[in-house]
């Protein structure tokens, strides 16, 4: 089976400071990969390199494109990469305001990706927006409200709807539950788990919250100081950590 994403020896430096280094892994269709580690361990840097937001200094990120199979997204042209960014890829930011248009209604936010791929029937776009708002538990009568009128949890759910409406084949998420109240986090997590199963999503989820990966991820990568120090099936890594650092992480001795 062809991997959906093939990551090979990715490295990114900020001057002499290491962002992440020597990261390699394959992601297969329908798989959810969790990336955990304390703050500053290089998770976001890695994710942004994979999603084309940052250009890594070394390595290759091959994506199984619909037209030509595995293509290195780092060396492909910018128009091609941006096209992937609004069709086959989705990116859920930690802060919803980074992933939403705050001056556009909820319906417009969800509809944008459809219109970006040439949807030109208002009624259809609106119906899809209503459907997706429902799936993320936002009442239909909020469709014309701007996200500024929404709670943090609702904004995050709207961001998820906006990203999933075009049925992306790969979803990148950076701390999707970060910054939310604990009770709100639980609801969002539950929702995400439902969507992942229902849509058989392939995803890479960065988080410092082990509860998130326990619930969502099939496999886990543990990062420290820009390096991957342990990988494996989620249950295996969390229940029987091999690396001393992972053991500390799992036993919650480390304040992450």
């Amino acid at each position: 089976m062809t991997p959906l994403l093939q990551v090979e020896s990715i490295a990114k430096f900020y001057g002499t400071r290491i962002g992440c280094s020597d990261v390699s892994f394959d992601l297969y269709p329908g798989e959810v990969m969790g990336i955990v580690g304390e703050s500053g361990s290089g998770k976001s840097t890695l994710l942004n390199c994979l999603a084309g937001h940052l250009t890594p200094d070394r390595g290759a990120v091959r994506f199984d494109t619909r037209a030509d199979g595995l293509r290195d997204t780092i060396t492909m042209s910018e128009p091609e990469r941006r096209m992937l960014g609004r069709t086959d890829w989705a990116f859920v930011h930690q802060h919803a305001r980074d992933g939403l248009r705050m001056n556009v209604s909820a319906g417009g936010n969800v509809g944008e990706r459809l219109m970006a791929v040439n949807a030109r029937h208002y009624g259809d776009i609106r119906a899809a927006a209503i459907d997706w708002l429902g799936r993320v538990e936002i009442a239909e009568d909020r469709i014309d409200d701007r996200p500024t009128a929404f709670s943090g949890g609702m904004q995050q759910r709207l961001q998820i709807a906006r990203n999933l409406v075009t049925g992306p084949r790969l979803v990148f998420m950076d701390e999707p539950t970060g910054g939310l109240d604990v009770s709100v986090q639980a609801r969002l997590l539950d929702l995400l788990r439902g969507l992942v199963r229902e849509m058989n999503l392939s995803a890479i989820i960065v988080t410092h919250d082990l509860a998130v990966v326990r619930l969502l991820a099939d496999r886990l990568m543990v990062m420290k100081d820009g390096h991957v120090i342990e990988t494996g099936l989620t249950d295996q890594v969390l229940d029987d950590p091999q690396h001393t650092y992972t053991q500390l992480l799992v036993s919650s001795v480390l304040q992450v």
């Binding site: 941006r82 609004r86 209604s105 219109m115 970006a116 208002y122």
Partner: protein
């Protein structure tokens, strides 16, 4: 030394502007940056249009200025005087007699010919600005033809007003490629953007020039189920009786009396001279005295 350069601007500057115009004509609808000069009038008065006019005028030209369809507003009069003084060109109020027409907010009702140039004053040249404030990002969107956002604006219109409420500066796609702001003309004028004349757009403060060559395809953006409609007030002109012209509504007395009249004053006058009379109009000779 009391002489002005012909048409105020020095020759180097006019060459620079002409290069931008030629580039604009070569890439229809694409915004070309240019080094906008200080003009002896405030920005809101159409300094972009004035610089474009200055760069295209020749001593043989006949110049007309319209402001919201009228030749006699302060703005129109002062721009016309400016070129009378600095270029010594003939001026006219008759659309058919003009070789260069500078306009704000209207396209003349009379079809333009291949030997005429229409120069628009543009306040905000970037149609994507409303939703994407970043200039770097909008430039990239144009370059990569990423225009989904333009429809988000129309979507917002329909969701808020039940219909596409955008009545002015209605966005268009030029020759199947660039999305362009036609300046704040009423959408009624959009179909006229496909014409025989050359159309040049100048934005002074924003330092952009763009153009539509003759007979270029210009399509107003819309949705399949909300098609573009070039609407106008459902009336005939009360002065000349025209059914097909864009109308201004005028309150005529304290009792709420109102009348509709052509916004294009030359069109209206020409029709009245030819004997057309509207519901509240009087034959032309009588009130001309």
């Amino acid at each position: 030394m009391s002489d002005y350069n012909f048409a105020y601007l020095d020759e180097q500057t006019k060459r620079m502007i002409r290069r931008a115009i030629l580039k604009g004509l070569a890439i229809p609808g694409h915004q070309v940056p240019f080094a906008s000069r200080e003009m002896p009038m405030p920005y809101g008065w159409g300094t972009g249009g004035v610089q474009v006019s200055a760069a295209v005028l020749t001593p043989d030209d006949t110049f007309k200025v319209i402001d919201q369809g009228a030749d006699d507003t302060t703005n129109a009069v002062s721009i016309r005087r400016f070129f009378q003084k600095t270029a010594g060109v003939a001026v006219t109020e008759a659309t058919t007699e003009a070789s260069v027409i500078q306009t704000r907010h209207r396209i003349p009702e009379q079809d333009l010919r291949a030997d005429q140039i229409l120069v628009y004053q543009v306040p905000i040249p970037e149609p994507l600005r409303f939703l994407e404030p970043s200039e770097v990002e909008t430039r990239k969107m144009h370059a990569l033809e990423e225009y989904g956002l333009m429809h988000v604006k129309l979507y917002e219109d329909i969701s808020q007003h039940g219909d596409i409420a955008t009545a002015y500066a209605y966005p268009v796609k030029v020759e199947g490629r660039y999305v362009m702001d036609p300046s704040p003309i009423p959408k009624f004028d959009n179909p006229k953007l496909e014409m025989a004349g050359i159309q040049l757009f100048g934005a002074g403060r924003e330092q952009r020039i763009y153009a539509i060559p003759p007979y270029t395809q210009v399509v107003s953006l819309d949705f399949d189920d909300y098609p573009f409609l070039p609407t106008k007030a459902d009336h005939a002109c009360d002065l000349c009786g025209a059914q097909d012209s864009y109308l201004d509504e005028l309150i005529v007395d304290d009792a709420g009396g109102r009348m509709f009249m052509c916004s294009d004053t030359d069109y209206c006058t020409t029709r009245r001279k030819a004997g057309h009379v509207g519901a509240q109009g009087v034959p032309y000779e009588k009130d001309a005295a």
